[in-house]
Structure formats: C-alpha cells, structure tokens
C-alpha cells in the first residue's frame, strides 16, 4: 500500500468539490423528503394533541353541564319529594279525620239504633204489661174481657210510667 502524505491542492480541491456536490445533492433530493415527513408527523402529532385537548375541554364542559343538570334534577326531586311527603301527610291527616268522623257517625248511628230498639222494646213491654194487667183485672172482676174504661185507665197508667219506672239507668 502506497502511503502518501504529500499535500496536493488539486486533490484537496477535488475532495472539496465532491463533498460540495454531495451536500447540494443531499439538500436537494435526500433530506427534503425526510424532513418533510418529520415535519408532517410533527404537524399531525400537534394536531392530534390539539384535538385531544379540544375533546378534553368539551368533555370538561359536558361534565360541568351534566353536573349542573344533575344538581338541578336533584333539587327538583327533593322539592317534589318534600311536596309529596307534605301531600301524603295531609292526606294521612285527612284520612284520620275522616275515619274519626266516620267512627263517630257509626257510634252515633249505633247509639240511635240502640235507643230506638230500646224504645221499641219498652213500648212492647208496656203493651205486654198493660195486656197482662188487664187480663189479671178481668180475672179479678170475673169478666171475660176488661171493659173499655178499665183498658183506658190501665193504658194511661202505663203511659205515665217515666224513665225511672221504665228502669232507665240514671246517668
């Protein structure tokens, strides 16, 4: 192998020209597509980052909106629930009042019926007593049937019997 350490300007110039041409060639044909691809990728990444950021902001806005709506719905539901509770309480109170009135009415009706039945029974007893008394009187007087005067007398007596005589309990 021949080792040459002689400096030759023409050889040096040749090397410089070759490197210069290589630089021009690479700058014109090799590097631009590469740098363009890198730039395009960077642009795409930037765009995707921007889009992601936009989507994040939209999601945040949507979240805030939904949270506000949820708060509103909760408030409305609470109001509705309170209203329903009040209505239910009112209704319950009304039912209780109505039930009390009904029970009072039923008690009053029952008392009235009892009183009526009692009067009816009393009248029947009075008739029975009068008939019995008249029968006894007729037997005593030797008559088949009591006459009209006796009948009226006994009837007046029985009618005059008051509550005390009727056995009505003293309040």
């Amino acid at each position: 192998m021949h080792i040459n350490i002689a400096l030759n300007p023409l050889d040096m110039l040749d090397a410089l020209v070759a490197v210069g041409i290589l630089y021009v060639f690479l700058q014109k044909y090799a590097f631009p597509p590469l740098l363009k691809a890198v730039r395009d990728r960077q642009t795409r990444i930037d765009e995707e980052l921007a889009a992601a950021e936009r989507r994040r902001q939209e999601a945040d806005e949507l979240k805030s909106q939904l949270e506000a709506e949820l708060r509103h719905v909760k408030a409305r539901a609470e109001v509705a629930m309170n209203h329903a509770l009040r209505d239910a309480e009112d209704e319950a109170a009304q039912i209780v009042v109505r039930a009390r009135q009904e029970s009072r009415r039923l008690v009053a009706d029952a008392e009235a019926e009892i009183a009526s039945e009692r009067q009816h029974a009393l009248a029947s007893v009075k008739r029975e007593v009068a008939d019995l008394a008249l029968g006894i009187a007729a037997k005593v007087l030797g008559q088949e049937r009591a006459d009209e005067a006796t009948r009226r007398l006994v009837q007046e007596f029985v009618d005059q019997l008051g509550p005390e005589a009727d056995g009505e309990p003293t309040p």
Partner: protein, 219 residues
C-alpha cells in the same frame, strides 16, 4: 511531507467520488419514499441520525438547519468513506491526507465564517484571551491553537483510518500462514469497523464543537 502542485491523483479522485456516489445513493434510497405515518427501516435510521446530531447541535450552537444538514452529510460521508476501505480492492479516501485536510480546512473555514458572522471583527478577540498583559502574551499560543484545530482534525482521521487499513492488509495477507490468523483478522475487522464509526463521529462532533465555540459569547 511534500507539497506537490502537479501530481493530481486520479485514483484518489475515483475513491472520493465512489464514496460521494455511495453516500448520495444510499441516503437517497433511504429517504426517497419517506412518509410520516409508516417510516421504513432506512428512513428510521436516517431520522435517528438527524435527531441525534440535531440534539447535539441544539446544545452547542444557534439553530441552523443548513449547518445541521452539513453535519449529517459530513458524518454520512465519513462513515461511507471510512468503511470503503473494508471492501476488497477498494481503499478509503480518508487514508489520504489530502481528503482529510480538505475536510479540516472546510471545518476551519466554517469556524471563521460562523464566528465572523456572529461577532464581526470581535471574533478575533479570543486570540487575546484571557485579556490584559497575559492575553497579549498568550496571543501567539491562541493563534497556534486556532490553526492547530484543522491540523489535528486532519491527522487524527487520516492516521486512524490509515492504521486500520494497513493492519487489515497485513493480517489479511498473513492470516493463512499462522495459527489463529483468521480469528485475529475477524477481531481486527470488528475493531476497525468500530474505529471507523468513532472517527466519523469525532470529526463531525469536533466540527460542531469548533463552530459552536466560534459562536459562543464567552469565546
């Protein structure tokens, strides 16, 4: 070392142009159908290279897409040029000092252009660093340091790649004659591949560093 104005080396020119053509072709094939959604293996590799060098450049200098492209081109070219020597019947153009010197001069010129563009004549103030009487005394050392940058760049790359290639040749030619020759050849082949990548990276990162230093306010 001689300085020869007449002896243009057509073989070297051929190797240089093979490297340039291969670099351009490979880069073009890897990126021609680049797409944003589903990058292929080639596109992904190129994007990794761009991203890696861009990450380094961002911390070292002002944002400059054209210079970033230059750094990527330089790295790819040096990678291809260094590996070209591992292909049988071919040589790496970076085993010739003229090529590495040309690239180093390019770096040096960029250092000055970027520094001058940013600071004007104030760029040369760093020759008087750290200022005062000491700065004046340091002037020749600072100037030598500035001019030694392209020299070290050129010789580092040249020396490393040349040594790798020479040893590869020696081992390849003698492998059949001693025990373990092929295993040694394989190991050296792997080591040379590693050195090729590292040297391409070092040249690129030093170019970035020198240009970044030239732009830096404290420089």
């Amino acid at each position: 070392m001689t300085f020869n104005l007449s002896g243009f080396d057509p073989t070297l020119a051929l190797y240089v142009w093979i490297s340039v053509t291969l670099t351009g072709l490979v880069a073009w094939i890897m990126t021609r159908s680049a797409r944003a959604d589903k990058p292929g293996v080639g596109q992904s590799l190129m994007e990794m290279v761009f991203e890696f060098i861009n990450g380094l450049a961002r911390g070292a200098m002002d944002d400059n897409p054209a210079f970033l492209s230059f750094l990527v081109m330089l790295f790819l070219f040096l990678l291809v040029a260094n590996f070209q020597g591992m292909i049988p019947a071919l040589h790496s153009p970076t085993t010739n000092l003229n090529v590495t010197a040309a690239l180093a001069i390019l770096t040096f010129a960029m250092m000055w252009v970027f520094g001058f563009k940013k600071k004007g004549l104030g760029y040369f103030r760093h020759w008087l660093h750290p200022g005062g009487a000491i700065g004046a005394a340091m002037l020749p050392i600072n100037i030598i340091e500035d001019f030694s940058k392209p020299l070290t760049l050129a010789f580092r790359l040249f020396g490393n790649i040349l040594v790798g290639e020479i040893f590869m040749g020696i081992i390849a030619s003698g492998a059949a004659y001693f025990q373990g020759g092929f295993a040694l050849g394989f190991v050296w082949w792997g080591f040379t591949a590693f050195v090729n990548v590292v040297q391409a990276f070092i040249f690129m990162i030093l170019t970035l560093s020198y240009v970044g230093q030239a732009q830096a306010s404290g420089h």
